[in-house]
């Protein structure tokens, strides 16, 4: 009587063990078959995650808390880059360190790159005191240029993973609509507000694309080049320009604070608001949309505050 039970027990254990081993051995293999997509910047993590869903892995090249401005490559970056099948880059000046990492890892000629800005119509940095036409690489702080990049990335990812081409295209469209709805929310926040008195300056050129698409002109940019502090002479000229243009709002950086904004406020009386560069903090699918909504909400507050001040001014 014991024998059949022992046999049944053995059989059950054998089946369970086999299933467990199968799961352990097969699951990582299936996962490893997914496309491994590297990204250099936080917005690209959100873009690609929303495009690929669960059908590809997204690998950030640098740590979540790293500052992409003047980033110094780390040994761990080289290890991460070797795990990628393809990498999405800004390529027009905001992630030049990625090319140093590629070179150092010996992957320069092997790892295919998706240049997110290939199909984006670039604009010059606004308010350049010399009038020079300098390419602005901050195409990701926007909705219009972001959507253009999302479509471009989805199209190029489809070339590496044709089986999921339709899935990527549909997701890119759904994500584009989600971003467009943020603009519609912003519009609701400033409905009926008079924008005629709104004049703004920005600490750096990072916000030109979002300002441009909303139809808001930037009268002055404090930093002569991104990450470069102005000289005393440039600062004095900028303050004069802010006063002459009746600028009433200065948009400063949320993540990388600068004491210069306080100096300008003291000299000109502008109100300071912080906007996110979307380039620090934990990587997530939602980060870009969340922080873009936060930025649009801040912009709406600034516009409303200026309209109220203008309306109550004697």
């Amino acid at each position: 009587m014991q024998e059949p039970n022992t046999f049944k027990g053995f059989l059950a254990t054998f089946v369970a063990t086999t299933l467990m081993l199968f799961t352990i051995l097969i699951a990582p293999t299936a996962n490893a078959q997914n496309l491994q997509v590297g990204v250099t910047l936080h917005p690209y993590y959100s873009f690609v995650s929303n495009i690929v869903g669960d059908r590809a892995e997204v690998i950030p090249l640098i740590g979540a808390e790293s500052n992409p401005h003047g980033y110094i490559p780390q040994p761990a970056d080289m290890k991460r880059i070797l795990d990628m099948d393809v990498m999405v880059v800004n390529g027009i000046g905001h992630d030049s360190w990625a090319f140093e990492i590629l070179q150092a890892a010996g992957a320069k000629d092997d790892l295919p790159l998706i240049y997110a800005n290939d199909g984006v119509s670039l604009i010059p940095i606004a308010g350049d005191p010399s009038g020079a036409k300098v390419v602005n690489p901050h195409t990701f702080i926007s909705t219009v240029a972001a959507i253009q990049q999302i479509y471009g990335i989805a199209r190029q990812l489809a070339e590496y993973d044709p089986e999921n081409a339709d899935f990527y295209r549909d997701n890119s469209r759904a994500y584009a609509l989600e971003l467009r709805k943020l603009r519609a929310k912003f519009d609701g926040m400033i409905a009926g507000v008079n924008l005629s008195g709104f004049r703004c300056a920005t600490m750096h050129s990072g916000y030109d694309y979002i300002m441009q698409e909303l139809g808001l002109n930037v009268s002055a940019v404090i930093e002569p080049r991104h990450g470069v502090e102005p000289t005393a002479r440039q600062m004095a000229d900028t303050i004069d320009r802010i006063k002459a243009s009746n600028v009433n709002v200065l948009f400063a950086e949320k993540y990388f604070a600068s004491a210069l904004s306080d100096t300008i406020r003291d000299a000109t009386g502008v109100q300071i608001y912080s906007i996110s560069h979307i380039s620090s903090g934990p990587y997530s699918n939602e980060k870009f949309a969340d922080e873009m909504l936060e930025n649009l909400t801040t912009l709406a507050s600034a516009i409303r505050d200026v309209a109220n001040l203008t309306a109550t001014a004697p």
Partner: protein, 215 residues
């Protein structure tokens, strides 16, 4: 002994040390200033013909806003075209998205929001050509009658060519310095050029990548 002890002994190359130090400092400062001044500078001047206009070098304000939005529409129009024709019956004519469709999809520069108002509240019109066999010809979206000073008009042309099983669409964006203008009779390049329209040439990311990294 005392006078010898107080004798001033100069280093053999003291003048040169100071001079070298000053020169090195000057070279370093100049090099840094030059680097900062040229950081991100667009050095490649594209060849632009008289019948073309550069969005990067020539557009500002509202024109730049409208053009950037239209540039994205170029990607989106084929998708919306598929959507609006998805449930067509066998005898139903295929159509290009109209302005109301773009409103529904919240697509700028057609969508009526604050940005549209800030950019001169352009009136957008769709011209769909009479079907010639398989709908070959040009569809055109005209944006005109803006209310800002010195504002131009925009035209998005979509040329369709059917050859056998091949179905090609070419999308171009044109700009006219007149703020108020009628829908062109044809989307052919020569016709538009003769009427004063200029083909807008973007400075797109692929060109900047080539400038930075070479061909």
């Amino acid at each position: 002994m005392t006078s010898k002890a107080l004798q001033l002994v100069r280093p053999a190359a003291s003048r040169y040390e100071t001079l070298t130090l000053l020169l090195t400092a000057a070279i370093l400062i100049s090099a840094q200033m030059l680097y900062v001044a040229n950081l991100g500078r667009q050095e490649t001047e594209e060849q632009i013909y008289a019948w073309q206009i550069s969005s990067f070098n020539s557009f500002e304000g509202a024109d730049q806003t409208i053009y950037s939005a239209l540039f994205t529409v170029k990607d989106e129009v084929p998708y919306i075209y598929d959507d609006v024709n998805r449930f067509n019956g066998p005898d139903e004519k295929f159509r290009w998205p109209n302005i109301e469709d773009f409103q529904e999809y919240l697509v700028p520069p057609f969508y009526h929001d604050t940005s549209w108002e800030q950019s001169g509240s352009l009136e957008w019109l769709l011209f769909e050509p009479v079907a010639e066999g398989e709908m070959q010809g040009y569809s055109m979206y005209l944006g005109t009658n803006g209310n800002l000073d010195k504002q131009g008009s925009f035209l998005l042309t979509i040329g369709h060519v059917h050859a056998g099983f091949s179905n090609n669409n070419s999308l171009d964006i044109w700009w006219h310095s007149q703020g108020s203008i009628a829908m062109p009779e044809s989307g052919f390049r020569d016709t538009l050029v003769r009427k004063g329209w200029k083909l807008v040439i973007p400075y797109s990311g692929d060109k900047e990548v080539k400038r930075i990294f070479g061909e």
